[in-house]
């Protein structure tokens, strides 16, 4: 079962993200899917997450580096490559190519993803785009 769960999550990266097959979202994500972190729900929520990345990085490409699965949970580490040709987090496009790492933790029930948590080192993305963090904080 864990191998099947890994394959299901792999389809998200291979088919939905890399092959741009939006239509497979319903096959991969449960109607009850939730991503509380970003307030996204259902297959539509999953698609909107992908759409946001595509808008900023139209050529985004995910490479799965490794997966660890146990029970109903699948962890996937991916390398994402893309060129920043659209607005990202309110920042104008830079035209720069960036590489970053993302980790997803997916819960799979009855062959559908029901819950997802994502961790991305966004600072690495910002630095590659030429941004930095300003020390505006005051004690």
């Amino acid at each position: 079962m864990t191998e099947e769960n890994k394959k299901l999550v792999r389809r998200f990266f291979d088919e939905l993200v890399n092959e741009r097959k939006s239509g497979v979202a319903e096959e991969i994500f449960s109607p009850n899917f939730s991503m509380p972190q970003l307030g996204l729900y259902g297959p539509e929520g999953a698609k909107s997450m992908v759409n946001a990345i595509w808008a900023a990085f139209p050529d985004a490409w995910d490479t799965i580096e490794e997966q660890v699965a146990e029970g109903d949970t699948v962890m996937t580490r991916v390398t994402v490559r893309g060129t920043n040709l659209g607005e990202w987090q309110g920042l104008p496009p830079t035209g720069k190519s960036v590489v970053w790492t993302g980790v997803t933790i997916d819960r799979v029930i009855d062959r559908k993803i029901v819950e997802r948590l994502v961790v991305i080192d966004w600072l690495a993305v910002m630095k590659q785009l030429g941004y930095s963090m300003a020390t505006t904080a005051t004690r």
Binding site: E70, M75, Q89, G90, P92, T101, S132, R139
Partner: protein, 147 residues
């Protein structure tokens, strides 16, 4: 070593080493040929160096292990990290603010010791919590918003 034993070893890194600052434990759970490609750190000393740096910035850091899954020689650990920023961090002055954030560690073990690891958290999100802002260094017409 079973996957449950491997999970316990990694749990000690989060709870005893990071949360409690028991650096001597590193010698028990990290292999002498350990390598951390992300930071180019090697051996138990490399891990101690990383812990010291983090604890200097967040002396009261506390990791709560939320979940672990394991398969073969790999262990994935998701933790909630909480700490007060009382020291310089990534070149930023301390803010005195508390940050709470999720972190994921991916550890590979051989004979009950960690030989390789990968760790990730949203550093930009943490810096925002501490009150720092994204700076558009190339253009002054930034329209940054926090998410």
């Amino acid at each position: 070593m079973t996957i449950e034993e491997n999970k316990d070893v990694v749990r000690r890194l989060f709870e005893e080493v990071v949360s409690n600052g028991e650096l001597a434990v590193v010698d028990e759970i990290v292999a002498s040929d350990f390598f951390w490609p992300q930071f180019g750190l090697r051996g138990p000393e490399g891990v101690k160096q990383w812990v010291r740096t983090f604890r200097a910035a967040f002396p009261d850091v506390h990791d709560t292990v939320e979940e672990q899954i394991a398969e073969g020689d790999m262990v994935m650990t998701r933790a909630t990290v909480k700490g007060t920023n009382l020291g310089e961090w990534y070149g930023m002055p301390s803010t005195g603010k508390v940050a709470v954030f999720p972190a994921v560690g991916i550890d590979r073990l051989v004979d009950g010791k960690i030989v390789e690891r990968f760790a990730i958290f949203d550093l930009a999100g943490v810096l925002r919590q501490l009150g720092h802002e994204v700076l558009a260094s190339s253009t002054p017409t930034r329209t940054e918003r926090t998410s």
